[in-house]
Amino acid sequence: MSTAVLTEREHYLNNGYSLKSWLLTKDHKRIAVLYFITISVFFLIGGIFASLIRAELATPAGDLVSSETYNKLFTMHGVIMVFFFLVPSIPATMGNFFLPMMIGARDLAFPRINLLSWYLLIAGGGFAIFAMVAGGVDTGWTFYTPYSTTYSNTYVIATALGIFIAGFSSILTGLNFIVTVHRMRAPGMTWFRMPLFVWANYATGVIQVLGTPVIAVTLVLVFCERVFHIGIFDPQLGGDPVLFQHLFWFYSHPAVYIMVLPGMGVISELVSTFSRKPVFGYPFVAFSSVGIAVIGFLVWGHHLFVSGQSVYAGLVFSFLSYFVAIPSAIKVFNWTATLYKGSISYATPMLYAFGFVGLFTIGGLTGLFVASLGIDVHVTDTYFVIAHFHYVMVGGSVMAYMGGLHYWWPKMTGRMYPEGWAKLSALFVFAGFNLTFFPQFILGYLGMPRRYHAYPPEFQVLHVASSLGATVLALGYVMPAIYLAWSLRYGPVAGANPWGASGLEWQTPSPPPTHNFEEIPVVTQEAYDYSRVREEIEVG
């Protein structure tokens, strides 16, 4: 009965069923779906590596896998999660799907380049997976020289090539978003009427465009060093191994903002919709996104405090690193203030939003610890840093991803997911996450170093707690995979605006038609205007 309603109306999913109509599509919504499938696969692979790591670390001795294998596991976990999951995640899925709709456009500025971006991610991923299957890579995702250029006997070049290609996927996505926001806004859609999700993805695009080419050229130099022994990072030939670290982190620090800014954009949407109120301090949140993007390029040296870098460089980078924390704090305060006198719903996306704000706060605050020179000397390269970045990347970005996924699921699929199971999964994720990573702060301050296959026995209890947490966390991710897939066929049919949200994407049917809008809207409302929503609210 419900399926009959869907097949009568044309939308982006039923507009052609052939493989060709998907693999040669120019529709940003179909490309977003292609990306969803792709990065879910990468997340699964990265997650399997994480599970093996935590399984090994439950006991102090290196008894589950050999040290060579362990070194490959943490390397490949990092490479897959950073370059093939987190960097594309929100922009290439929800950004691709909703950025054009949110500004009232029919598509991105360059649809064919959008498709090319996806193929580049596939190609890059292909090389990375080949490297893993052929024998793996063991340099750490950070590829420090001269280990990666001279001493490692593993598939460094294949992996570097995979990352290089995936980098261009990222650059083209950013380029597309920047031009789209500048040139494709519907009449009346001024910059300050755009949803904050658009601002966040715009700022992310700027980072992608400016930062990614640097790691691309750095990987080229690593390739040249490895194959031609040009000596650029080899001290015996006059080169400087620390130069690599500067070049690497010049991208990789802004990259973490590529990974978190879109998540922040999602949270702005969720907090507003589920408080039924505009985001508090809209201009401040918008400018904070841009501020983070800019200042984020100035702090890379905080990864090099104990590298042999000069004391004065350390001072400058520490100082600037505190600057970059402020815009993030501003956002957290503004999201919290949005709840004040709102109408708060506890739907699953909002639970993920709450989780994000809480865990990102902790993760961000621990960033202040590592930004402090005196503390960082002690905790750098220990589990403290691992805990810090997992709090912001997983407690932050991945929670935002899950929140956005549930929020826009009815719009993208025309189906609603089962709310009870979804809430339970969110709780599992929150509890499992904290149990996994909070003990790691303690472990790190105790002195447990990173990338250790075996460790002194007194650290075991904390490691066991962490590994137990990882099991719960994994469960929290497996459950949505199941019930979301289930909902595609058996979930209740969703209407155009089940949440009573503002935003142009909710003015279209679910799933949206291929051309997004029958007529390009002329925008007269400010962002997050709920005055018309009352009539549209659907009960249940």
Partner: protein
């Protein structure tokens, strides 16, 4: 079953680092609770009671924005200054620090005391005395990490890096390599033994060996350095007497301070910096000397700064390199 939650405080800087940590923890707990409680309170107090309710509320407030920008900024500046001050202390070894050389290689630590004691994966030091480590790597980047001392410093091939600490409590403390270096990175660990001064002296004199300076003097002869580098400065090569700590004028302009790094480079890559008035004639000894032997030679050259007449086979106990009087 004891679950350690906090590392021992065993160096003069540990207490200061931990104090900064407590401050950061206090600030973090405060803001975490503030946010968590605010969210919890608002979420309950303003929960949706009817599907059609529509709140109308203020959505901007400049005073509030300024307050919650300026106050956190002020707090972070305190954190910065405090952390920077500790870092300054950590990067300036006291003048009276005793010198120990460290060479890291896959996958072990090799340490040399001035008196000639050599250790592998273990470091014996006296309590209450500043210890300065001058370190290099033979292969990849490693990192010398002693959690109880709260110190860590990367060990880089091709150059020296330094760190220092002063143990305040006798005991046995973990030593870890903290920069991933390949297969047995997790096994590149050891112990630092801080001992009461008399126990340390006893340990020191335990094994018969020559001091670094003596070993260096022997090498200086064996490798025929002495054929060119005459003590009186005659000949084709610059005199090395009183070299250490002085400022050297280079051919082509420019000067350089004659520290450990300069001496090391002069041995392994002599053409990189040629002394003014001399030709680039010195051959390189790269591949002919290990990093430990380089250290011995450096200590010998440093000892030439004492008195011009001092000969290589002087008895041990007088080789007190690094004394303030010797430096110019």
């Amino acid at each position: 079953m004891q679950i350690p939650l906090f590392p021992e405080q065993a160096s003069s800087i540990s207490v200061e680092v931990d104090r900064l940590l407590y401050f950061l923890v206090a600030v973090s707990v405060f803001f975490t609770l503030l946010i968590f409680l605010a969210i919890f309170y608002f979420a309950v107090r303003y929960r949706r009671r009817s599907e059609t309710e529509l709140p109308s509320a203020v959505h901007t407030g400049l005073t509030l924005e300024i307050l919650w920008t300026v106050i956190p900024f002020g707090i972070t500046m305190i954190m910065f200054a405090w952390g920077a001050s500790i870092f300054f202390t950590e990067s300036r070894p006291p003048d009276d620090a005793m010198q120990i050389y460290v060479v890291g290689k896959q996958w072990m630590w090799k340490l040399q005391h001035m008196e000639g004691n050599r250790e592998i994966n273990e470091l014996h030091i006296p309590v209450g005395r500043s210890v300065k480590l001058t370190m290099t790597s033979e292969d990849v980047i490693h990192s010398f990490f002693v959690p109880a001392f709260r110190t860590k410093q990367d060990v880089v091939p091709g150059r020296y890096t330094t760190t220092w600490f002063k143990a305040t409590k006798a005991g046995k403390y973990h030593l870890f390599c903290a920069e991933y270096c390949g297969t047995n990175h997790s096994a590149m660990i050891g112990w630092v033994y801080a001992m009461e001064p008399q126990d340390y002296q006893q340990w020191l004199s335990g094994t018969p060996k020559g001091t670094l300076t003596e070993a260096g003097g022997q090498l200086f002869n064996d490798l025929a350095c002495v054929n060119c580098h005459h003590t009186d400065g005659s000949g084709r090569c610059p005199s090395l007497v009183n070299l250490y700590g002085s400022t050297v004028r280079l051919a082509g302009g420019g000067t350089v301070k004659a520290d450990e790094a300069y001496i090391r480079e002069s041995i392994l890559n002599p053409a990189a910096k040629v002394v003014e008035g001399y030709q680039p004639l010195m051959p390189t000894f790269q591949g002919q000397v290990t990093e430990e032997q380089v250290v011995d030679l450096i200590e010998y050259v440093k000892s030439l700064a004492q008195k011009p007449a001092e000969q290589p086979n002087q008895t041990r106990g007088q080789a007190q390199a690094g004394s303030p009087a010797a430096r110019q």
